[in-house]
């Protein structure tokens, strides 16, 4: 119950920035339009590149814009607060609390993601539907699979952001690592270019990395490329990475607690 309360408060906290939300939807939509035309130019030359048709490609663009903030692709979210608390030494107080640090920040981040999904996710999607006639999930299984995959995507992104923030235990300042992690995310999620049209072997490598969870996997489920057993397999890979990453988070947290240096105490 406590975690639900944390998530609800995080949701409400983000919902106070209305102008920021509207301006964000506008900006996501502008980028959606730009990339749609770029991909249309590409798919006009090669109509079946990567197994996508032109409509799939444009739909992919708008899913990407919708998920950008929801999965916090660039970084940010509650893990930024954690990093700041590590830098200032306030984290020492958090570590004494009878609530797990990981669960606390994860609950907050899920609340944040829910808010961003309902605003910065749905907003651009509606605009994409009107302007470019994008494809909607064809079956209930695809729609539900997409939602399940999205929750896994947010958690995967959280785990990686948590690891990045934890680097502040040793470096004090996470900003360099955060930016480097953002660079990897942009490229390996398929935000810059769908992973399906990457040349081999780069394609297979990128699809096997945890970043594929952020965008390529949910998008392929939405588009119906992963259906039936493929859908279950895709979700299975996401769960597998999640287990590995959360184990890493726990190990890092244990190590950090042992050697924590409290600044300014």
């Amino acid at each position: 119950m406590l975690h639900v309360a944390i998530a609800t408060r995080a949701f409400r906290r983000y919902s106070t920035y209305r102008a920021a939300t509207v301006s964000g939807i506008f900006t996501n939509s502008v980028f959606g339009v730009i990339y749609s035309y770029a991909y249309l130019a590409l798919w006009a030359q090669r109509p079946h590149a990567g197994g996508y048709d032109a409509t799939d490609a444009v739909t992919y663009v708008w899913i990407g814009q919708a998920l950008l903030m929801t999965v916090a692709l660039w970084g940010g979210g509650t893990t930024d607060e954690l990093a700041e608390r590590i830098r200032t030494g306030d984290v020492a107080v958090d570590l004494y609390r009878p609530v797990g640090l990981l669960g606390w920040y994860l609950a907050g981040d899920l609340g944040r993601a829910a808010y961003h999904f309902l605003t910065r996710g749905l907003g651009p999607t509606v605009i994409g539907l009107v302007v470019f006639h994008i494809r909607l999930p064809g079956t209930p299984a695809a729609a539900l699979g997409f939602l399940a995959s999205l929750v896994l995507a947010v958690m995967t992104s959280f785990a990686i952001r948590f690891l990045v923030a934890s680097s502040a235990f040793w470096l004090l300042d996470q900003s360099g690592v955060k930016m480097l992690s953002g660079v990897c995310a942009i490229f390996f999620t398929g935000m810059a270019l769908p992973l399906v049209i990457f040349p081999e072997p780069l394609r297979s490598i990128a699809l096997a990395l945890p970043w594929a969870s952020y965008l390529q996997t949910p998008a392929d489920i939405w588009l119906g490329k992963d259906a039936g057993t493929d859908l279950l397999a895709a979700l299975g890979v996401q769960v597998l990475w999640l287990v590995v990453l959360f184990a890493c988070c726990r190990a890092v947290l244990a190590a950090a607690t042992r050697k924590v240096v409290v600044q300014g105490g």
Partner: protein, 270 residues
């Protein structure tokens, strides 16, 4: 007097910027990783375009090196403008936190203080990347003296146009303090649009990028001249000479908007 105040402002800017460089170097590890990341971020951005050419030979009639020329020219413009005055984006944050009040009472022009605030030398990472990409495109260009002149005018004009966009759209935040992201649609959005040949867009979009938000002048018309290609939308060849006048006009407009914004500013009082 006017000249003296400009020199004074430049001196103030340099001092504030130098302070931020020293402060960034305090966490040297972060500074190095962030400079490398800044380089990598735009590098992978171009790699993505390169990978597109693994699937196709031409994008809307343009070869990879021609796209590199467009990408590099626009990237140098926004890169320099972003490094020098990109911090103006944070104006809304200054208003919310009340730090703008402190700036208003200091004997240094407000715009100089806002722009020099958090000056980030790491952005050199991005600029060096775009210079390399531009160099790759320029290697194939059939250069003569006139083309060199057009290229120089283009780069200076592009910096001015992006400078004006950064300042102008950031002023929205004088009225709505937390809408900083809308500026990105025009600045980084304008940059992303000009990374591709304008021929990928419908005519109306290309026209509005010329006459409404004139980012097409940061690279498109001048690069067409460098490539000896006529404009597919039928614009005259002398548009290649316009980046600098367009940039100067836009900077003038942006400064007017800035002044109007500062006049309407009322402190949040916190």
């Amino acid at each position: 007097m006017a000249d003296l105040s400009v020199l004074g402002a430049a001196g103030d800017y340099r001092r504030i910027a130098a302070m931020w460089v020293r402060s960034a170097l305090a966490y040297r590890g972060s500074f190095v990783t962030m400079t490398i990341s800044s380089f990598l971020m735009t590098f992978l951005d171009f790699v993505a375009i390169g990978l597109m050419f693994h699937v196709i030979d031409r994008l809307a009639g343009f070869e990879l090196w021609q796209v590199a020329l467009l990408y590099g020219a626009s990237g140098i413009g926004i890169g320099i403008a972003d490094m020098v005055i990109g911090s103006v984006e944070l104006i809304g944050q200054h208003i919310r936190m009340g730090t703008l009040d402190a700036m208003l009472v200091r004997p240094v022009p407000l715009l100089v203080q806002v722009c020099a605030d958090r000056f980030a030398l790491r952005r050199l990472g991005r600029i060096s990347q775009t210079v390399i990409v531009f160099g790759y495109g320029a290697w194939h260009v059939d250069w003569d003296l006139a083309k060199v002149a057009v290229a120089v005018l283009m780069c200076v004009g592009a910096v001015a146009i992006f400078f004006a966009l950064f300042v102008g759209v950031s002023c929205v935040q004088f009225w709505t303090h937390d809408a900083s992201e809308i500026a990105n649609a025009f600045t980084y959005g304008g940059n992303t649009m000009t990374q591709y040949p304008l021929t990928i867009f419908p005519t109306e979009v290309a026209k509005s990028l010329t006459f409404v938000i004139p980012v097409a002048f940061t690279n498109w018309y001048s690069c067409l001249y460098l490539l000896d290609r006529p404009d597919p939308f039928g614009a005259p060849a002398w548009f290649a000479l316009l980046p600098l006048p367009v940039g100067a006009l836009m900077v003038g407009l942006a400064l007017l908007v800035w002044r109007a914004g500062v006049r309407t500013y009322t402190s949040t009082g916190s």
